[in-house]
């Protein structure tokens, strides 16, 4: 059974992990259903991989009142036998350069996967990736659809600064750093695409549910695309 768990005097967590492989779709469907209503005191909704965090103003509502809104929506998810339909997202091709200096963990990842750098590159570029979740940093996508050979735990030793554009692997997912930040994922390439740009009309390139294809480009093309992104 899904659980509605008070996790603060300002937030409730809906745990949908019981839905197994369909959990992500249930989270998205619940998020959409909740977005379609006006709920007194609701401040924000944060989808996780298998959970939805609902934040509220404790001066205007409380856990019981928010639960009362959530419970029927959660029940409706369980009733949909095949699970709610996945929202059709947009599709993106992101140029990625796999040169060694932009991909410091490519060789170690290749060794774990029993292939070489070119093999990792082909596996990643051939995979139909999907934005399962966004979070952590502005515009940061958690991408599902990573081939099983590339499922790795996080690095034992996190880096204090991962550069913007870094394409990274950990926990069976791929991620792309929109901005420089500390991070413990394996760095296997660098994209010239700008996933977060506060000066752009839409600062966020991706949305949950979007399809993503990585496209290998050589250094010259990478530098040209990165420079074009800077100027815009």
């Amino acid at each position: 059974m899904p659980r509605l768990l008070p996790v603060a005097d300002t937030a409730l967590l809906v745990d949908l992990s019981d839905a197994g492989a369909a959990a992500g779709q249930h989270v998205a469907a619940l998020d959409e259903a909740l977005a379609a209503r006006t709920v007194e005191g609701l401040l924000d909704r944060i989808p996780g991989l298998t959970t939805l965090l609902v934040e509220y103003d404790p001066l205007r509502t409380d856990a019981a009142a928010v639960s009362q809104v959530l419970a029927p929506l959660v029940d409706a998810l369980a009733l949909a036998a095949s699970g709610p339909a996945r929202r059709a997202g947009r599709s993106h091709r992101l140029p990625v350069c796999f040169d060694a200096d932009l991909a410091p963990d490519l060789d170690s990842v290749a060794a774990c996967a029993g292939t070489d750098a070119g093999g990792v590159c082909r596996l990643l570029c051939g995979a139909p990736l999907r934005v399962a979740l966004m979070g952590h940093l502005p515009g940061f996508p958690y991408l599902s659809g990573v081939p099983a050979a590339l499922h790795l735990p996080r690095r034992a030793d996190p880096r204090t600064a991962v550069p913007a554009g870094a394409v990274a692997l950990a926990g069976g997912l791929a991620g792309i750093y929109p901005v420089s930040a500390p991070g413990g994922w394996h760095l296997v390439g660098r994209t010239a695409a700008r996933l977060y740009d506060p000066e752009r009309a839409d600062p966020f390139l991706l949305r949950p549910g979007d399809a993503v294809h990585l496209e290998a480009v050589d250094r010259a093309a990478f530098e040209r695309l990165a420079a074009a992104g800077e100027q815009r």
Binding site: A8, A11, E55, G135, L137, G139, G171, P203
Partner: protein, 318 residues
């Protein structure tokens, strides 16, 4: 109604434009940002007779020097931050928790914050920079347009929104009576309350913790004993509520504050009760704290009682 402008002559150690924060975008990874000590920001707006929710300045350690270049500025300062107002040959110094009227050409010099890490300078009319994604709070994780992408720098110009002239009778206020509280910080069970062993939980609630120097608006890193985990510290990434207490794989607590990552993959066995969250925004590196467990219902009652106290404090200076 008149408009005004402040010129930043000296920026202070880290002065940010803040408001209630950028809500509604956390699902795309935008941190909520906003005042690290939201309670004191609210009191500053009350002192300045600014509309609730108005953008103000968050001062860290030591404040900026600001010159009124246009209009008259009606300012309120919440926090024990020494402030000197120079107007021609006149100069007067106040100890904070005050309101000031600064005429064109006057200079406001904010000194050190003496009762914690942060103080707030609010102005009637509010700091009127263009909002980004619905908020006038600086975003230090990845930036934002204009003054909202960084801390203030010398030469910045702060537009101030229109406000009626104020005729203040009360020049300031005593700090709220609860301001110096030193008791345990209240926590409620978090989403992974079962992630600690009984010993780990006891350790967390019994220890004296020290705020590490690596702490920032994203999180307070706490130095103390290792907190024993019952299993791995990793979970499927999920949303992080304000005040979530993360325990890293090494058994180290990090209390997540306003510039937190919106999602995270570490267990969160406790959450700070919202009534005590502003206190964490006041703690300086090296200061110590303890925790005590309460229920969600108790936390809610404490928060609502505090709101009544805040409103009474604000009513007394009206």
């Amino acid at each position: 109604m008149s408009r005004a402008e402040l010129l930043v002559r000296e920026p202070g150690l880290r002065t940010l434009v803040i408001d209630a924060g950028r809500l509604g975008w956390q699902h795309l990874g935008m941190p909520p940002a906003g005042a690290a000590d939201a309670e004191t920001w609210v009191l500053a707006n009350a002192l300045a007779a600014a509309s609730p929710g108005s953008a103000a300045l968050e001062v860290t350690h030591a404040g900026p020097t600001l010159e009124v270049t246009e209009g008259t500025v009606f300012a309120g300062i919440a926090g024990a931050c020494e402030v000197t107002l120079r107007d021609g040959a006149d100069s007067r110094t106040l100890a904070g928790w005050c309101r000031l009227i600064a005429r064109p050409g006057a200079v406001l010099e904010l000194g050190r914050v003496r009762d914690g890490l942060r103080a707030y300078l609010a102005v009637a009319g509010g700091i009127d920079v263009p909002p980004f994604l619905g908020s006038r709070s600086a975003n230090l994780r990845g930036g934002a347009p204009g003054l909202l992408g960084r801390a203030l720098l010398a030469g910045d110009r702060l537009p101030i929104g229109p406000s009626p002239r104020q005729a203040w009778v009360v020049p300031g206020a005593d700090p709220p009576p609860w301001r110096g509280e030193t008791g345990a910080v209240r926590v409620v069970p978090g989403p992974q309350a079962e992630a600690l062993t009984e010993r780990g939980s006891d350790t967390f609630l019994a220890a004296d913790w020290v705020v590490a120097s690596a702490s920032d608006r994203g999180g307070l890193r706490l130095e103390g004993p290792i907190v024993e985990l019952a299993s791995a510290a990793d979970i499927a990434s999920e949303g992080c509520a304000a005040g979530s207490v993360q325990i890293t794989g090494g058994g180290r607590p990090i209390v997540l504050l306003v510039d937190r990552g919106t999602t995270g993959g570490y267990v969160k066995p406790f959450t700070i009760a919202s009534v005590d969250l502003p206190r964490l925004g006041r703690l300086r590196p090296g200061e110590s704290l303890r925790f005590s467990a309460v229920s969600v219902e108790e936390a809610l009652a404490l928060r609502r009682a505090r709101e009544i106290d805040c409103q009474a404090w604000a009513a007394a200076i009206r």
